[in-house]
């Protein structure tokens, strides 16, 4: 069941400053910018991958797509783009970063998040709605999304989250799993796991709790007209709430 809208929050205004990275092959960039403009009144600054610095911002969005045609490994070439050095420094300073789908793949290849995203067990490109249970944790994102089960689309061929057993233990123990694939009631079942991800993991946060990576697409669930869920707005609210 969707719980979007159950918590009343103040919608942040256009004061927030956000950069969005664009790589050759990014294709969810405009949807993210549209979400920010339409729902939050924020004009996002697009930053081309060859940039060597970021403008002064509160947050960075790494959108989905197929950067560099997914050559070598998904996200591998993008992780070596010049702009990623600036993103690393931004992360080190505690900057808020959200990486969605290919953005998540780029974050693990950059090692800002642990693990890897491998080919789905079914070998199929999966495009469907999934229910995501929010796990327990102390990050600003966990606090903002506490207790929710969100319905959002996934669309990927390589979204099977893999990490060493010790990394999985650490992620679990430290409350760094943010989203798990679940059934509609929020139960993490084998049947609800679309791609074979370890521990049903769909999204995690960094050690400092400021970098979020997730396979589902919150920018594709921002309006009921888009297929029946606006739950993605909760993720964006959580992202914006981390700025203050």
């Amino acid at each position: 069941m969707s719980t979007a809208g159950s918590n009343v929050r103040t919608t942040p205004t256009g004061r927030a400053r956000i950069a969005l990275l664009q790589f050759p092959g990014s294709n969810c960039d405009v949807d993210c910018m549209d979400t920010m403009a339409r729902h939050f009144g924020i004009a996002v600054t697009p930053v081309w991958h060859s940039a060597t610095s970021l403008p002064p911002v509160d947050g960075v969005i790494i959108p989905g797509g197929f950067s560099f045609g997914d050559y070598l490994r998904s996200g591998a070439l993008a992780s070596h783009s010049p702009v990623m050095q600036a993103v690393r420094e931004f992360a080190k300073m505690g900057g808020a970063i959200i990486g969605i789908c290919n953005g998540f793949q780029i974050l693990v290849e950059t090692q800002l998040l642990p693990g890897a995203l491998l080919q789905n067990v079914s070998r199929k490109f999966i495009c469907q709605y999934s229910s995501l249970a929010v796990e327990r944790g102390d990050s600003v994102y966990h606090r903002a999304l506490d207790g929710m089960t969100l319905r959002m689309p996934i669309a990927h061929g390589e979204g099977r989250y893999f990490a060493s057993n010790s990394d999985l233990e650490r992620l679990t123990k430290d409350g760094r799993i943010l989203f798990s694939y679940a059934d509609a009631t929020g139960l993490r079942t084998i049947a609800a796991n679309p791609n074979g991800s370890a521990r049903n993991i769909a999204g995690i946060v960094s050690e400092n709790g400021r970098v979020m990576g997730l396979m589902p697409h919150p920018e594709r669930a921002t309006d009921l007209l888009m297929g029946g869920s606006a739950d993605g707005l909760e993720v964006w609210r959580a992202f914006l709430a981390s700025f203050t």
Binding site: L72, A76, H80, V108, E109, A116, N120, S122, F162, G196
Partner: protein
């Protein structure tokens, strides 16, 4: 003389390789019943400038830092021209 290396990158043993499994299953269907496992790897053929200092070290760095992801993959390096 040109210096050539081969780098083979494949998933670690403990990581499921869906592509390899699909190939194995198809082989079984084709009647090759004795095929126990198929591992798919990616082969990189690196050609270095002649006289590249410590080519082995350079190739190792390229392979470890870039061609393979140590989280999920292993790699093998072999010199081809020697």
């Amino acid at each position: 003389m040109i210096v050539e290396y081969e780098v083979l990158v494949q998933l670690k043993k403990e990581v499921l390789d869906p592509e390899g499994r699909a190939i194995r299953e198809t082989l079984t269907r084709l009647g090759f019943s004795g095929v126990r496992d198929v591992v798919v790897s990616k082969r990189f053929h690196l050609v270095l400038d002649p006289g590249t200092p410590s080519p082995e070290k350079v190739v190792q760095e390229i392979a470890k830092e870039f061609l393979a992801n140590p989280v999920s993959q292993t790699l093998q390096i072999r010199r081809l021209d020697a």
